[in-house]
Structures are given as structure tokens and as C-alpha cells.
Symmetry: C3
Subunit: 260 residues, 3 copies
């Protein structure tokens, strides 16, 4: 049996936090195969973490345990969650980090984390990644059943999904959710909204952006709009940064007209 434990955090690569959490997982389950997803989620940005997790987890094999920690409320009364959704298990704080997983999987079984026998000891009130979530993920990788982690929970925190508005003109007003490393702009509009359209007109920062299939359909340095790799509408510049070229960032509005 392969026991994959995949890690997503806002801990970065400078500090000891990622290492300490990995050690805590391996101390419970030395056979675990640890996989780093991303550790540079912007500090405390739960929504960014939720979107990143959402774009990565569906490619993993059945049985993968995801431990995700973006946890501004550590040590407070916010609960911890362990949940099964589809063929996956997830562990982390109950602050919305699993919003998109839970919306996708209405059948998910969600449990609170309460069984202190599964924790590291003593527990620091400022580092549950190491002392609570990591060890619980290790136990789940060891096939400990969810029921042992804690009681069933019916009301996990769900973030308001940033939804595009439908304007009176029939256009969508979406927003930039994320600027990636390349300067590509991921928007709040699902690619499904434009599926099968005769034409798509995208306007951002005063400019109209040509609708294409892939980056190389325009010339280097030119902007384009397309369905990005996570299925959302994306604005990009071929071999360049749309964020820099168009002068827009997270939260900026993007206007989309779909012609059927």
C-alpha cells in the first residue's frame, strides 16, 4: 500500500515550520510518501489556499491524504477538520480552506478533530500544523478511521465563493482571483460559462482581449484570454506578465460578453 500525504501551507521555505510538520507526520507514519504541493501560499490567505488546493488535488490517486494549513486562527476556538471527499482525505483548520472540496463533494463526511491521543504532546497553541494536523494526517495514512478523530460535523465553514455578477446587459462582471507566477490572471468566471459560445469578448483595464485556445495563438508580448488549466477564464500575455502589461491585479474587474 502506498500512503501519500500531500502538504499545502503558507509556511514558506525559509523557516523550520514545513520541516517540523513533516517530521511530525513521519513520526506517526514513517512509510508515508510526503509530497509538497505549494508552501508559498500568501501568509494567512485562506481563500488563496483554498483555490490552490482545489486546482491540485483532483489529479492525485485515490487514498491520498491532504494536509492543508493556512491558519490565522491557530490556538483560538476555531475547530480542526478531518474529512473524506470522494476518494480523498483532508485535514486542516475549519476556516474555509476546504470550501471548494466540500462544494464539489456534497457527500463528504466531515469530522471535528478532538481525539488528543492522536496529537503530538505537548500542543503549542501557535503551531497546530506540527502538533495536531500533521499527526492526524499521519494516523489517517495509517488507516485510522475518521470516526476515531472526532464527532461528525454538519456545519463546516464555507467561504463565500467569489461569484461573477450578471449585468443587465447580459455581460458577466468577473474579478481577478489570483495572479500566478507568470503574471497570468485567473478570474472568478468558470470556463463552463463560455462553453460552446460562438464568440467571447473579454475587456479588462479598458482593453479588449482576443479570445484564444492557447497562449501561442497570439504574438509574444500580446495579451489573450482563454480557459486556463483549472477550468477558469484566464487573462494572459504570451511569454510575458498580464499583471504587469495591463497594470491590474487581484480583485480587478474583468468584463466578459458571450455571443451564442
Amino acid at each position: 500500500v502506498v500512503r501519500i500525504v500531500a502538504l499545502l501551507t503558507d509556511f514558506g521555505a525559509v523557516d523550520p515550520y514545513v520541516g517540523a510538520m513533516k517530521g511530525a507526520i513521519l513520526s506517526v507514519c514513517p512509510e508515508a510518501t510526503l509530497v509538497d504541493l505549494a508552501h508559498e501560499v500568501p501568509p494567512h490567505d485562506v481563500l488563496a489556499g483554498a483555490l490552490t488546493l482545489d486546482a491540485a488535488y483532483p489529479t492525485f490517486p485515490a487514498g491520498t491524504v491532504f494536509v492543508a494549513v493556512v491558519d490565522p486562527g491557530v490556538g483560538s476556538s476555531r475547530r480542526g477538520l478531518a474529512l473524506q471527499a470522494g476518494q480523498y482525505l483532508f485535514v486542516g483548520p475549519d476556516n474555509g480552506l476546504f470550501s471548494f472540496v466540500l462544494r464539489e463533494h456534497s457527500e463528504a463526511r466531515v469530522h471535528g478533530i478532538e481525539n488528543a491521543r492522536l496529537f503530538r504532546s505537548p500542543i503549542s497553541p501557535v503551531f497546530h500544523g506540527r502538533d495536531v494536523f500533521g499527526p492526524v494526517a499521519g494516523h489517517l495514512a495509517q488507516a485510522v478511521p475518521l470516526e476515531e478523530v472526532g464527532p461528525k460535523i454538519e456545519d463546516p465553514v464555507l467561504l463565500e465563493a467569489p461569484e461573477p455578477r450578471r449585468l443587465a446587459t447580459g455581460e458577466w462582471e468577473a474579478a481577478v482571483l489570483h495572479v500566478d507566477r507568470f503574471g497570468n490572471l485567473t478570474t472568478s468566471l468558470s470556463g463552463r460559462a463560455v462553453e460552446g459560445a460562438r464568440a467571447v469578448e473579454v475587456a479588462v483595464g479598458g482593453a479588449t482581449i482576443p479570445w484564444v485556445r492557447t497562449y501561442s495563438d497570439v504574438r509574444p508580448g500580446s495579451p489573450c484570454a482563454l480557459v486556463g488549466s483549472s477550468g477558469r477564464l484566464e487573462v494572459a500575455v504570451r511569454e510575458g506578465s498580464a499583471a504587469a502589461r495591463l497594470g491590474i491585479g487581484k480583485g480587478s474587474p474583468v468584463r466578459v460578453r458571450v455571443v451564442w
Copy 2:
């Protein structure tokens, strides 16, 4: 048997150095499970590397081999070390990187690295991580005994641990040792110095900082002081950066009064 080899370096994620060192370990011990601790230790900052290692290694399972490389003296006459401390093995340059491990483990068995049959060949005088420390870590993961690595050493380099001063007033004058990714300030004062105190008064940059148990005991944007996750006194700002908010950084003084 699981053979965990955990890596800590100042090599970063842009250059080929981490990859080359991993290949060298795996060429000796293909069954090794490599675990990245942190690779963005500030370049050449041995004390920062030592503190990072110290905060991460104790969570790992027995038998883990740590290879740590922050090595400004590479190629000079500085020795290499392989040592056993507690249930762990450590490999790296003899420049103080293992100071806190050695202080914690007076029983540690420390050996110099001299047996060239365990090295990669040829040896570059500028990359012992790949050619010396990585391969030796691989051999230790393969259960090669310490004695085969080189002779016993009694005088490994120990860094001056930055210790807080006790002032005539009875207060502690500690210093900021590290600013983490979140802008939290780790100080040189051990949490043990305040254990059981009736009250703790922390002053930094002219401001008095409330003493709390965890970040969420204050309002978002407000400063607080507490025992951090590695057991040291820490100054933080809830959901913000204490470094930016208080305008202080590494080396800044922190005054602490403990009321019994």
C-alpha cells in the same frame, strides 16, 4: 526499514545545487526517502541554519539522517562532521551548524569526515554538499557505521549561543534572533525563563506588548508576545507582520520583565 534523509541548505530553488545533492544521495542509497526541510536559509548564515535545524529535527522519527549544508568555508581546511545525537544522525560542515544539537546532546558521538571511499569523485572544492556530505549521508542511511566515516572528534565548532543579558533591574535584555515569513520575531529568551510567572512585560521599540497565549487573544493587526512554537519568546502581530508594524528586525533588543 525506512531510511529518511532530511535536507537543510541555503541553496535555494533557482539553482541546480539541491537537485545535484539529492542525486548524489540517491546514487548511494536509492531507497532513501528524501525530505526537504528548508532550502532558503539566508546565504552563508550558519547561525540561522543552526536555529532552523534545531526547531525542526526533534519531530522526526528515530533513525533519520539529517544533512545540513550552509558552508561558507567550503574547500578550506574546515572539517566535515558526521555525528550521532540521540536517535538521529547528522552530516555537514564543522562550522557551528550543529551547535544546538550538540548542546542538547552531551552524549553525542562526533566523527570527522575523512574516508574518501565514501565520497563522490572527483571532489569539487566548491561543492561538498554534492561530493562529500550528500554521499556520506547516503552511506549512513545504508547503515555504514560512524567509525568508518573518520576518527572521533572532541572539539566540534560551537557557535556562541546568543544569550539574553540579566540587567541590574532584574529584567532580561534579549535580542531578535530571527524574523520569520509572517514577520514574527523569535527572540533569544527561552520560554522556560517565564514559566509559571504571574505576569510578563515585554517592551520592544518603545512599545509595551501584551503577553498572551496565542495570536487570536488580541485583535487583528495588534501586537502580542507569547511563547512561540520552538519554545522561545516571540513577538508577533495577529494576522500581520510584527517586523513591519514595529519597525524592528534581526538583532533588535527586546526587554522582558517577569513578575513572580
Copy 3:
């Protein structure tokens, strides 16, 4: 059998791309041992990716599968490649990323990637790392033969290797190929060009740089020139940044006189 799959990309540690590609590999080959080489190759910089791969792959054990993705032409008509060179396998876009591997291994067997049964489905035209290269690497790790991936290819893209010029004076005019994390400057001149020389004179940015064996042969803060860890001539500053100290960067000329 250990199945090592080593990853090199320009995807960074903020976005979900590295995680999504890893999941796609593990879904094909759950027993794979994933090894991160470097994910902060400058965006779209194929030559930088090729040089980084070249400096890391030769340390790995036989049988390692390398999946390298720096892919500005994703979704266009550029081909994908799977190739065997020496005891290694490589997968990625046909854009020059494997230039140095192919130059070193004239016997390499190079195949185009065409067999869609080995891909993830559906295929995004903007993310072949996840949908094509990752899965193909997983299948190669599962011992699928190269022939099944696609037809033999005789003309893979090879980048112009930046070669130093020989001047009328007998000197070499090399260029800075890469500035590493430490500010060390890797040049285009192979260390072989100075092997056995009586003296080597290096001039850069108006300054003459002393020729040494390792960094600590000069005083902290002083510049030096030497054969770097990948066998190329390098200009460095001991415990400092040559890029900052000498005010030069990628592409800057370096003059070298070899005295026999």
C-alpha cells in the same frame, strides 16, 4: 525496484502547478519516488532550465526519469519529447530544454510524444506538464518502452550553446550565463579550457580577478575566479555577491587569458 521521477520546472512554489503535475505522475505510478530538483527556473527561460538540468542530472542513479517543463510554446505545434540518454530517461517539450543532455549523449534515442492513451484526459492546451509530460513520465517509470510513446525523431530542437569567442590576442571572451542565489557568476567558458594552465587571468567589468581553487583562498568580501561546481569558469566573491559587488549580470562579458 526504485522508480525515481525528478522534476524541474519554472512553476514556482506559490501556484498549484507543481502539485497538479505531481498528482498526475502519481496517478499513473503511485510507487514513484518524486524528487524536486528546482521549480524557480526563471519563467519561460528555456536556456536557464537546460543549464540547470545539465548541472543536476548526472549525479542521479541509473533509471531515473527526469520530467522537465519550461514551456512557453505549450499548446502550439511544438512537439513533446521522451528520450533515453545514457542510463536516464527525459520527458518534456521539444524546445531545447534537453540540448546539453543530447550534446553529451550522441547515442540518445529520441521519440516524439504522440500516444494519447498515455495522457491525462481531457488535455488542457495550456498545461501539458499535468496532462501530457507528467503522465508520460509516470508510464516510463512503470517501464513502458519508449517506442510506445511515439515515433523516433531525428531532429530535436537544440539551442545554440553560448560559446566563448577566441580573440586575435589569444584571449577568450566568455559571457555570464547565470547568476546563482549567492551572486556567483557562471560563465560560458568550460573549465577544460584552463586545465593544466600555468596561470589564468580573468577580467570582468574593468577589474582583474585573482584565480584560485576555492572561495576561501581570498579574504571575505574579495572577488575570485575558479572552476565552479558544474565545471565552468565562475566569478565569485567570498561570502558575498559577485553580481552586486562587480555590478554585472547575465550576459556580461568576461575576458580570460590562459598562460601555458
